[in-house]
């Protein structure tokens, strides 16, 4: 009895999550897709390291951290561009994107130096 109620709850939860997410604007969905891509790339890299070993460690670190870094920066961009966010209503989305690009530039400069 308990199990079916939790299963029903889980299904209802899943449905409501789906419907709520379908309501988000397309731009935000694109950013979410990018975040998903970055995180999955990081996971693939970790799996690869588990198979072949962690030498050279600096390449592994820079690869994983570049994926994680772009994911984090994309999330920050999403926060700033999201129209529902009251704190950032004065921030023009172009400015948010410019900051995003700048931060990515710095991140990838460091990555390329550290890649070895």
């Amino acid at each position: 009895m308990g199990k079916s109620s939790t299963a029903k709850d889980a299904q209802a939860l899943f449905h409501s999550l789906r419907s709520a997410y379908a309501a988000t604007p397309t731009t935000l969905k694109i950013i979410d897709l990018y975040v998903l891509f970055a995180v999955s790339t990081a996971l693939i890299q970790v799996g690869y390291m588990a198979i072949v070993g962690s030498f050279p460690f600096n390449s592994f670190l820079s690869g994983v951290l570049s994926c994680v870094g772009t994911a984090v920066l994309a999330v920050c961009l999403r926060i700033q561009v999201n129209k529902e966010n009251k704190e950032f209503k004065d921030l023009p989305p172009e400015r948010a994107f410019a900051d995003f690009v700048l931060c990515n530039l710095v991140l990838h400069l460091v990555i390329m130096n550290f890649l070895g």
Partner: protein
């Protein structure tokens, strides 16, 4: 019409306030620079102490050979025969900064020598650090607090002690980097801009380059983030302030060769990763909460908790197993000695023996931060009225730095900026209250007597506490007051944060006379602080320790023995000769005498230091054998018995015994003590009277005054007439402070029965 007039007036007052702030900041910079020049005026423009000589030598190498050679430098002039990889073991921030400064000045055709640039790097960066404190405190409380905090930091004795002209050490630039990183973090937190987050990471990178104390930042910021989350102050600005810093900061920290992979492998950084995970979980939770209805959210929570708990336990178990497998739980020795103050004395005597690593005494708090010591609690209270993210950060900063300063005297330096910020906030709030009381009660200045009457009625019951501000219920008439208050505040250039002007309140006002007297007393307090700081800078912290002075009845006496000895070494020995001494003098010997040394202040190899310690504690023949195995030609000892210099090698000798005994068990400390007391007089033990350190220090000492009276130990020595069999004295400086001996070559012929050749 009236509105535009008031707008123009307020704009004019704004402009006037800004210009005034600018000039005050320029003056603060000049003050910070000049108060540190006492050492140059009283002594000379020389590099101080021990560690700065190493930094100076590295900077010389950098300016002569360029950055690539510096990065790949393997130094074979120290830690003979091991050598030292300079590129990988030095924090390059300071040397790169001074090198860049020198290069810029020389390319502008201002031919300053490297030594001059090194000597004056610290005062320049102190001025910049004072400006950074202004920026940081302005973000927390406002311009008035910022200016006060900057003025306090320019003069605080604790910071002066490590940044006088000539003290060319890591802290000179590291404190500036620390304050600037904190400023950028608070700025990102307040504005939520990714641009400042990038700058924050770059400033953190500069801090990692400069000082090992960067672990303080990478643990304090996660602690603050956790505090914000736990107290319900999570916001998306917090995420933007923290998450990019962790990723970019870890990457940038791994770029510095000294840190390398320690940035991801040691326990000092685990806190940042843990909080990174936590903030993502919290962010996701808030996001989902925003999307779902409350009932659905409850369902989601129960589901996630039940599933997530299992996964969490598994991950935590793996982590605990990993961490527990290393004997120090992944922490380095120095960090562990901070968390457990008794750790160093039990396990690592070298860390325990450094005088900077001892806990401070109570009077040193008043010596080093003076008046600020009791303004800090007032500042902490002021930070709670109202509590914002930034003010909770500075409260956390002061609390942690007070704890760490209690563990190690050297970390009083980290406490100094926090104390200045807190005191600046407290003083500024106090000034604001008193001047506002005066303004409201002088009928000629305010334009509305009705408002005054209303205020002075409520003011009669006030006490003379500094925090007399209370938030009260909104009143209709109170709406006029914020605008008038704003005008008056601009005139004073004391700005309250905009949060306060939104909360309309009726302020308590103190009586006029007590306000005036309190204002005068505060100014007097500041005067006492200034007098103390200037005295401390001039008398206590300006000594270069390589040149000593004493005042006697016939004037000033200068002891320049150290440089005399190093100059003798550099002129009278071969370039490749090895010099053995205790590790304190290693950096100075390589920098000034330009000779290879066995051990130096880097103290990275405990066994090598223990070897030298054992040699100093052994009888002559055994010591000769140890030194001969290390290719040593000359032995240098520092002896203060003739002039009363207390930091000589005989006073440090017990540490040599302890460190040597830690590695070579045949050296036992009780052998050198008579009834638990350390003596060198006639009651000393035979082991003590026969050891190398005793013999090298007191050889021919009886010829000075006939009685061999040691001025430091205040007693006549035990063994007065003896000859050296395996060493010969080659140089003793003018005041017998440095004595240099040469190893005698082994005899060609062994007298007596021919010994069997040893294999």
């Amino acid at each position: 019409m009236a509105a535009s007039e008031t707008a123009k007036d307020s704009a004019l007052r704004h402009a006037f306030g800004n210009v005034l702030s600018f000039f005050i900041l320029v003056l603060i910079g000049v003050l910070a620079f000049s108060i540190r020049l006492f050492s140059v005026i009283k002594y000379e423009s020389v590099i101080h102490e021990f560690d700065p000589y190493f930094n100076y030598r590295v900077t010389q190498f950098l300016t002569k050979n360029g950055i690539y050679d510096f990065w790949n430098w393997f130094d074979d002039r120290t830690w003979y025969p091991l050598g030292r990889v300079i590129g990988g073991t030095v924090y390059p921030g300071l040397t790169l900064t001074a090198g860049t400064l020198w290069w810029i000045l020389n390319s502008l055709n201002i031919p300053l020598s490297v030594e001059t640039v090194c000597v004056f790097t610290a005062p320049i960066f102190s001025s910049i650090a004072a400006w950074a404190t202004y920026l940081l405190t302005k973000e927390v409380k406002g311009t008035g607090a910022g200016l006060t905090a900057a003025a306090l930091l320019a003069m605080v004795p604790s910071y002066i002690s490590r940044s006088v002209a000539g003290s060319y050490d890591n802290e000179a630039v590291a404190i500036f980097a620390l304050i600037f990183t904190f400023y950028l973090y608070i700025k990102t937190l307040n504005t939520g801009s990714l641009f400042y987050a990038t700058l924050n990471s770059i400033a953190y990178f500069y801090m990692v380059c400069s000082w090992g104390g960067y672990t303080f930042i990478i643990n304090l910021i996660p602690m603050h983030v956790l505090l914000c989350i736990v107290t319900g102050r999570y916001s998306s600005r917090l995420y933007i302030a923290y998450a990019p810093l962790v990723v970019l900061g870890t990457l940038l920290a791994s770029l510095v060769p000294v840190v390398g992979f320690n940035a991801v492998l040691t326990s000092e950084h685990f806190a940042s990763f843990l909080v990174f995970i936590i903030i993502h979980v919290v962010a996701l939770a808030y996001h989902i909460k925003g999307m779902l209805s409350p009932s659905m959210f409850k369902v989601a929570v129960t589901l996630v908790v039940s599933v997530g708990l299992v996964i969490c336990c598994a991950v935590v178990a793996v982590l605990v197993a990993l961490v527990a497998s290393s004997p120090t739980k992944g922490w380095s020795g120095r960090s562990l000695s901070l968390l457990d103050p008794t750790y160093a004395s039990k396990y690592i005597p070298i860390i325990a023996s450094v005088s900077e690593h001892q806990p401070p005494t109570w009077p040193s708090y008043f010596m080093d931060i003076n008046v600020l010591a009791f303004l800090v609690p007032a500042g902490i209270i002021a930070c709670f009225l109202p509590l914002s993210d930034a003010s909770s950060f500075v409260v956390l900063y002061i609390v942690t730095s007070v704890y760490f300063s209690g563990v190690m005297v050297r970390l009083m330096l980290v406490l100094a900026p926090a104390a200045c910020i807190m005191s600046g906030i407290a003083l500024s709030e106090a000034f604001a209250v008193f001047t506002r009381s005066i303004k409201f009660q002088l009928p000629s200045l305010s334009g509305d007597s009705q408002v005054d009457a209303g205020n002075s009625d409520s003011g009669s019951a006030a006490t003379t506490q500094t925090e007399a501000v209370k938030a009260d219920k909104i009143e209709e008439s109170a709406k006029e007051r914020p605008s008038r208050k704003n005008k008056k505040k601009e005139k004073e250039t004391v700005e309250k944060p905009s949060v306060k002007s939104r909360i309309e309140k009726r302020l308590l006002v103190l009586p006029l006379e007590s306000s005036v007297i309190a204002l005068l007393l505060l100014v007097l307090l500041g005067a006492f602080y200034v007098v103390h700081c200037v005295w401390a800078a001039a008398e206590a912290y300006s000594a270069p320790s390589i040149v000593l002075t004493s005042h006697s009845h016939d004037g000033l006496h200068v002891f320049d023995d150290f440089r005399e000895a190093y100059a003798w070494l550099s002129h009278n020995t071969e370039v490749d000769d090895k010099v053995a001494s205790w590790w304190d003098y290693g950096y100075q010997t390589t920098a000034m005498a330009n000779r290879t040394v066995i051990v130096d202040n880097n103290t990275w190899n405990n066994t090598h230091i223990a070897t030298v310690g054992t040699a100093m504690s052994s009888p002559e023949k055994a010591a000769w054998e140890i030194f001969d195995s290390l290719d040593v030609k000359y032995v240098l000892v520092v002896f203060g018995g003739l002039v009363g210099y207390p930091s000589d090698d005989i006073n440090k000798f017990l540490w040599m015994v302890r460190i040597g005994g830690g590695v070579f068990p045949h050296i036992k400390e009780p052998d050198y003590l008579r009834d638990g007391q350390y003596r060198i007089d006639s009651q000393a033990t035979p082991t003590m009277l026969n050891c190398l350190m005793y013999k090298l220090s007191y050889y021919r000492f009886v010829e000075t005054d006939g009685k061999a009276f040691d001025r430091v130990r205040q007693t006549e020595i035990g063994k007065k007439h003896f000859k050296l069999t395996h060493f010969e004295e080659v140089f003793t400086t003018h005041h017998w402070m440095v004595r240099i001996y040469k190893l005698k070559p082994p005899k060609n012929r062994i007298r007596g029965k021919t010994k069997k050749s040893k294999s």
